[in-house]
């Protein structure tokens, strides 16, 4: 499985070509990327996102159309934005940013990125804990819960968090191998569980499914106390849930190994398996759960999967949460290690694991996962816009490319100012105009590009202008 090898290379401690372009003899085939994208986007969070669409009252047609369009936009973003820059520069995101903004801004970026990774891994641990708690009859969190309600929940999460952290301390290799083995089985479990769930809704034919999809599963009516989602929410969430990776350019680190810029389009495997099939399947499971537990406000992927797929479903939730939490903790550790290179890896991983476990105690991370994922992408997006503008607009608008590198600086203000001001503008749009979090990324990107171009032109005009 070359995809595992590729991912291992990318997150490996001794990251090769950290500050040099990837040489031609190290480039990977399209098959590697296909497998990696399919595996990475069929994760523990899929057990949460599909049901949340049901809870938010997405209508069936809106869901299918929204997923088709949103995923297509995500694939196009990977293909047209990330792929060309990744294969042209062949640098990691961090080094590319360092060349533009300087080391000190990258450190700030790393710190925020690490924190975001901790929260993301925390939500995965919480997802796993809902399945681990089944045999102990653990009181599960509810849709409106923000804080832990029972000591049992905290104990379950802390045990899961400790185990996952200890494994992460031991290194990435074994978990990567385990995740590699689990990936095909997990994808099938999503599909199997959906098939097993449908008869419980009285569906035994395709025609019956279409009727049930509209009238029972995605009714268009949100659960009490939950906001209503339209097709626009689905499209934009789908497009921007991985915004940090494509528009935010985080996947430069992965796609720099691609033989062709077109490999960015191979993300379709992850989008249409993980973010289409798995989200629809997990939505079906939640509808069955709601039918079997009338008036229940409980929201726990473990019991939901257990009802449809039995022990295999519950195990899948644990495995899916674990195999995604582990590399996420590892990535957070690496991001922090960039700031504190002298500190031992195991100490950093232990600290990251501790923060992650603490965060996982709060069910809000699961219940508000859609908002968190959108916020995560939004916060990191402006730096992707900076890289984009630096790559495409430097010559056109007359400012210096890779300003920090060319001027031998460890800090430059145009990128940092563009980043912070973009987030401020997004906040203004949200606060004063009521534009929801899911939609802020689009205007935010244009704001970030514009601000960076203007600031760069002021501070670092093109050299020939300077010389003249």
């Amino acid at each position: 499985m070359k995809d595992q090898k590729l991912f291992k290379k990318i997150v490996s401690q001794n990251n090769e070509y950290e500050r040099t372009p990837v040489p031609d003899n190290q480039l990977k085939s399209g098959k590697s990327f296909l497998g990696m994208y399919a595996g990475e986007h069929t994760a523990g969070t899929e057990f949460v996102i599909g049901p949340l669409f049901v809870a938010h009252g997405v209508a069936a047609t809106d869901l299918v159309l929204g997923l088709l369009i949103g995923n297509l936009l995500a694939v196009l973003s990977w293909g047209f934005l990330t792929g060309p820059i990744a294969t042209s520069k062949r640098m990691t995101l961090y080094y590319q940013l360092e060349r533009i903004t300087g080391k000190s801004v990258v450190n700030l970026y790393n710190l925020i990125n690490a924190l975001m990774f901790c929260f993301l891994a925390g939500s995965m641990i919480a997802v796993s804990a809902t399945a681990v708690g089944i045999p102990f009859n653990l009181a599960m969190p509810e849709l409106t819960d923000w804080y832990p309600k029972t000591a049992g929940w905290i104990v379950a999460v802390m045990i899961m968090g400790t185990v996952i952290t200890l494994i992460a301390i031991r290194g990435y290799n074994q978990v990567a191998k385990f995740a590699n083995v689990m990936a095909p089985w997990m994808i099938l479990i999503f599909v199997s569980a959906a098939f097993a769930a449908l008869p419980q809704l009285g569906v035994h034919t395709l025609d019956g499914f279409i009727v049930a999809a509209k009238e029972v599963i995605w009714t268009g009516v949100p659960l009490p106390g939950i906001s209503k989602f339209t097709i626009w929410h689905v499209i934009f969430f789908c497009w921007f849930c991985n915004m940090a990776m494509h528009i935010g350019m985080s996947d430069l680190t992965i796609l720099r190994y691609a033989k062709s810029w077109k490999y960015g389009f191979l993300s379709f495997a992850g989008m249409y398996i993980g973010h289409f099939v798995a989200w629809i399947a997990s939505g079906i499971l939640y509808a069955v759960f709601l039918q079997n537990n009338v008036n229940s406000n409980e929201f726990a992927p473990g019991p939901i999967a257990y009802q449809a797929a039995g022990i295999a479903g519950a195990v899948c939730v644990v495995v899916a949460g674990w195999t995604t939490a582990n590399p996420t903790i590892y990535r957070a550790g690496l991001a922090l290690q960039g700031i504190f290179p002298q500190t031992k890896t195991w100490k950093i991983t232990a600290i990251v694991g501790g923060i992650t476990s603490l965060a996982a105690c709060f069910p809000a991370l699961v219940m508000k996962l859609l908002d968190f994922v959108a916020l995560y992408g939004l916060i990191l997006m402006p730096m992707g816009a900076v890289i984009f503008a630096d790559f495409y607009f430097a010559d056109k608008f007359g400012f210096q490319q890779e300003q920090a590198l060319n001027n031998k600086k460890t800090f430059t203000w145009p990128a940092l100012s563009a980043w912070l001001l973009t987030l401020f503008v997004c906040w203004l749009l949200n606060y004063f105009y009521g534009l929801e979090l899911f939609f802020l990324g689009l205007p935010g990107w244009f704001v970030a590009v514009t601000l960076f171009v203007v600031f760069s032109k002021i501070k670092f005009p093109a050299l020939k202008t300077k010389l003249a």
């Binding site: 499985m1 090898k5 599909v191 098939f195 097993a196 035994h204 022990i311 295999a312």
Partner: protein, 63 residues
């Protein structure tokens, strides 16, 4: 040996996907479907690591 392990793994996957479809078509009960899926899971867990990762290790050592 690897071929036998591979065949067993694929049987594990078949036991994961086919029983729910049979339940969907009302040929078996939900409990039976759960049981077969659990067996399929155990077979997959017990066989797949021996050939999937072996392939990885081999390809790693090649480079």
């Amino acid at each position: 040996m690897k071929t036998i392990l591979k065949i067993a793994s694929y049987i594990g996957l078949v036991l994961t996907i086919i029983p729910p479809i049979l339940f969907f078509k009302s040929y078996i009960t939900l409990d039976s479907s759960h049981l077969y899926m659990t067996i399929g899971m155990l077979i997959w867990f017990g066989t797949a690591p021996f050939w999937i990762n072996k392939k990885t290790d081999e390809s790693s050592s090649e480079s």
